[in-house]
Symmetry: C2
Subunit: 186 residues, 2 copies
DNA sequence: AAGATATGTCAATATGGCTGACTTAAATTT
DNA sequence: AAATTTAAGTCAGCCATATTGACATATCTT
């Protein structure tokens, strides 16, 4: 195999992997370690679902749509656009497939019959629960060792990573109601 | 604006947002909350860099390449393919741009002159450090409130989220040497 | 009646993935 | 020395997912 380490076969500069800080900018050092851990953790986290989705001929985009429609039944198309931060045209393609194949249904709003309120069907629920199950398995494994207080720290960390200006409907639901966080909504 | 809540304008099923468990699979409930927090946290985390990259005419793919080349100087093309889990052809396009525009240079390996070892130039370092600075700012904000033990929990959680079978060179560096667990690294 | 809004759709384009086939140069094996 | 394997690069084309701009339709608001 040769050369499996990062030793320096060409006399070039040494690895910066363990520097802990860069010479370039931040006074207290850049958080290279967490930046990379987030990259790999998220890659493998979504990989669980990606693999399963292939069998259905779906991609990550279908998963995101189905997930939020299942979780927030009656979501409007406009809400979904806010949450996913994509354009109507991009959503249209994916949503049409999910509708055509019976994972989602639309109902006209009662107050405003222009609106198309979205709901997951039983078929849609089954798929989204299967995917969430895979991801939950990984999360449970990762949370097992750090205890309840660690899990709380993780939740608090993730919440604090999210932009709070201009929240969409889903974020309002997450941060608004029964979910007071470190500082709540401020 | 109308209808800013998730109340039920069409008599449809209630929101599942606060269920805590699904009727579908997992015995102890699916971790919907963390699944969603991860989605939003990662979306905003990479959004910091994405926005800045636009000004350079680069995309997320360029960032990933430049990041790992900077962090692990002398990385071979084959290593990069393992880490990013993309094909040679996909990498080729972005790598060529980064080479042409002077963010990365290649050197032939000493032991094996077929290899092209990759190094970030000063120009490349400046860009990658700028991007890491933006992401570090967000991380610092998020970690500030949970204290050192919370930060350790987050690190431990993220490490446990990553697949350990078939690790690439970078993961070997992260998990192998001076990084027995959530501690050390300094 | 006029205007604004919610959704859907057309056409064109870009990015970043993919596969398969092939070349070149250099290392390794026989 | 010759054959094979390996590392990298490239060509050609395909697909998924994103983009913008323009426009149609139905419906709500004024």
């Amino acid at each position: 195999m040769a050369d499996l380490n990062f030793s320096n076969p060409s006399g070039a500069p040494d690895s910066r992997a363990n520097e802990g800080r860069s010479s370039a900018t931040a006074p207290a050092g850049l958080r290279w370690d967490i930046i990379e851990l987030l990259f790999f953790a998220y890659r493998d986290f979504v990989g669980d679902a990606d693999h399963e989705l292939e069998a259905f001929g779906f991609g990550r985009a279908h998963h995101r749509v189905l997930h939020f429609v299942y979780r927030y039944p009656g979501l409007k198309v406009a809400d979904l656009l806010d949450v996913l931060r994509i354009t109507k045209q991009s959503l249209g393609r994916v949503l049409k497939q999910l509708l055509d194949e019976g994972y989602i249904v639309q109902k006209a709003g009662n107050n405003d019959r222009r609106q198309r309120l979205l709901f997951a069907t039983a078929k849609g629920e089954a798929l989204v629960a299967k995917l969430a199950g895979l991801q939950t398995d990984r999360l449970n494994r990762a949370l097992r060792d750090i205890g309840p207080s660690g899990a709380d720290a993780v939740r608090q960390f993730l919440r604090a990573m999210i932009d709070r200006d201009d929240p969409d409907k889903v974020l309002e639901a997450i941060f608004g109601a029964g979910n007071p966080t470190a500082k709540a909504k401020e």
